[in-house]
Symmetry: C2
Subunit: 347 residues, 2 copies
Amino acid sequence: MPPFRLVFLGFGNVGQALLQLCMDKRDELRQSFGIEWSTVGIVTARHGSAIDPRGIDPDRALAMAAAGESLAPLSRRQAPPDPLAFIHDCEADMLLENTPVNYADGQPAAAHLRAGLERGMHAITANKGPVVHAYRELTVRAAALGRRFLFEATVMGGTPIFSLWRTALLGARLLSFRGILNSTTNLILSRMEAGASFDDAVAQAQALGIAETDPRGDTQGWDAAIKVAALVTVLMDQPLKPSAVPRQGIENLQPEDIAAAARQGARWKLVCHAEQTPDGVSASVAPQMVDPADPLFSVMGTSAAVTFTTDVLGPLTIRESESPSISGPRSTAYGLLADMISAVRGT
Amino acid sequence: MPPFRLVFLGFGNVGQALLQLCMDKRDELRQSFGIEWSTVGIVTARHGSAIDPRGIDPDRALAMAAAGESLAPLSRRQAPPDPLAFIHDCEADMLLENTPVNYADGQPAAAHLRAGLERGMHAITANKGPVVHAYRELTVRAAALGRRFLFEATVMGGTPIFSLWRTALLGARLLSFRGILNSTTNLILSRMEAGASFDDAVAQAQALGIAETDPRGDTQGWDAAIKVAALVTVLMDQPLKPSAVPRQGIENLQPEDIAAAARQGARWKLVCHAEQTPDGVSASVAPQMVDPADPLFSVMGTSAAVTFTTDVLGPLTIRESESPSISGPRSTAYGLLADMISAVRGT
C-alpha cells in the first residue's frame, strides 16, 4: 500500500507533537494497522510553508520549527502562501488541521476542511470551531465523498469521547452529561485553593503555558461553552452554538468563596452541563460547589472529566488525569492520531 | 434482511434483562443498525428449554421465567436437554451465553461457545471463565469462521472496556491498570465504613441480591482476580490465569482498620492492579488505603472504576457509578447488546 500522504495545516505545539507521535509510532502503525505515512505539506501562519510530494524530512521540519525558523527551505517548489490555494495544489490523503479556534463562525478552518474533503482527503481537526459551526455540513459532505470528518482532539484532548460514542457505546441513548472540560480554569481554581489570588493563579497558569496571554476565553467560560456546544451538537445530534449556552465564568469567585467551600470539605469547579428535556436540550457552564462524593471532586489541576447518563448504564465517568510524563500537546496529538487510524479503518 | 436468530444459554437475571432490553430497543436497533431479531432458543439449567425456529414469544418467556415456571411449553418440538446437543440442533446467528462462572477451567461455557461458533453463530458471553481460559482459542476460531467472540459484559458489567480498547484507543499502548472491579466487596467496605461489622455488611449485601449465599468468591478476591486475569489476557495479550494473580481478600480487614483509615481521611478499597514490566506482567489483588486525591476514593457501594496508564494519554479513568434507575443485570445486559451490535457491524 502506498504511504498515506499527510498535510499539516497549522504547525504549533499540537501539530509538532502529532508529527513526533507519528514518528514514534511508525513501526506500530505499520505492524498493527498497515499504515505507512509521509508528510507532503506543512502550512504555517508565520513560519512559511513547505510542499514536497516525495516527502518532507520530519526530523528537519521539527528541528526548524523548534528553532523558530521558516520551513520554506524544505519546499520542493514554491508553496502557495494561502492555505486554500495550498490545499488545492496538494495531492494528499489526510488534512490535519490545527489552527486556532474561531468561536464566532469556525472560519477559515471549516472552509479549509471542506476543501480538503473535496480534494479527496480525510479531514481531521483539533479545532472546535468547525465542529460547532459546520458539523452536519462537513459530516454529510465527507460521507458523500467516501471520506471522514473527525475531531476527537477537540474535547478533553486525546481522551476518547467522540469515538467512545461512535464505536463503543452502541445503542445507548445519551440523556445528560456533566463535567470539567476546561483545564485552565480548573488549574486556576486548584491554585486558588492552595492560597493564590485569582490574578496570581492566572499568572501561574500563563507561566506554565496553559493559559493564554488574554485568559478570558477560559476564565469567562467561552472554551467550556464551545465544548458543551460540540458535545451537544455531535452526541445529542442537536445543533447548539456556543453563544446559546448560558455561561458564567470563574472571574467572580473570590478567595472567600474558595475558603468557605473548603470549610465545608467542598470545592468550586467550573461545571459544564447539558441534558435532554421534553423542550429540547438544556445546557450551561457555571461554577458549582462539589463535595467529596462527587466524581468531579478529585479532578485537580489540568485534569478533566465528564460523566454521561444514559438509558442503559449507571452514570459513566471518563476522566483524564494530568500526567508528569505525557504533555498536553502530546495527549491532544494522540486524539488526531486515533482519528487517522479510524479514518483508514473506516470505524 | 432476515431477523438475527438469538439463542439464550442461561436465562437468569442477566439473560432475562437482555431479552427485555432487546424488546425495549427493538425500534432503535432497526432504525440505527438495521437489526431485526427473533428468539429461537432458550436453555436453562432448572426451568427447561425451548426451541422454536419461528420465534419464541419474548413476553411469555419473561413472564414464565419470572414466575419460576418451566419454559418447555414454549417449545415447538422436544428440546434436547443437553446444551451442546441443543446448540447443534439449533439454527441461529447469535449465542448469548450467561451461565455461572467456573473459575477453574471455564467449562462447559467455553465448549458451548466453541460449538456455537462452529454452528455459524457469533459467540457472546457475560461469563469470565471462557475469557481467561480460552480467549485465544475462541478468538482465533471465530476469526477463521468469520464470526466473533465478544465478552464486554465480563468486567464492569456493560461499561465499555474491551470495546474501548478494541475500537477507540487505537494505537495506544497499555502500560498498567488499577481499579475497583468487584462491586460486592466495595459495597461491603462501604457498609463497614458506615459502622456495620463484616458479617452484617455481608448479610446486607446478600439481602440486596449482590453477594452470593457463599460470599467467599468475592470476599477472598477470586472474582477480582479473574477480572484482572481477563484484562491482562485480552488487553495486554498475555495469558494469565486467575490462580497466578497474587490475591488477598477483605476478610482480614477489621473495623479498627476501617476506623484508623477514616481518622486519616482515607478509606480501604480492594484494589486490582497489573503492569507491564521488563520481566512480564506483574498483577495483584489486595486491600489498599486510598486518599481523597485518588480517583478510586469516591467509588462507593456497587460503583466500579479502572484507571489505565498508556504511552499517549494521562491516566485514563473509566468509572460506572451505581444508579437508582439502572439495575446491575440491565447494565450487564447492555454489554451483551453492545457486543451483538458490534458483531453485526464487524467492529
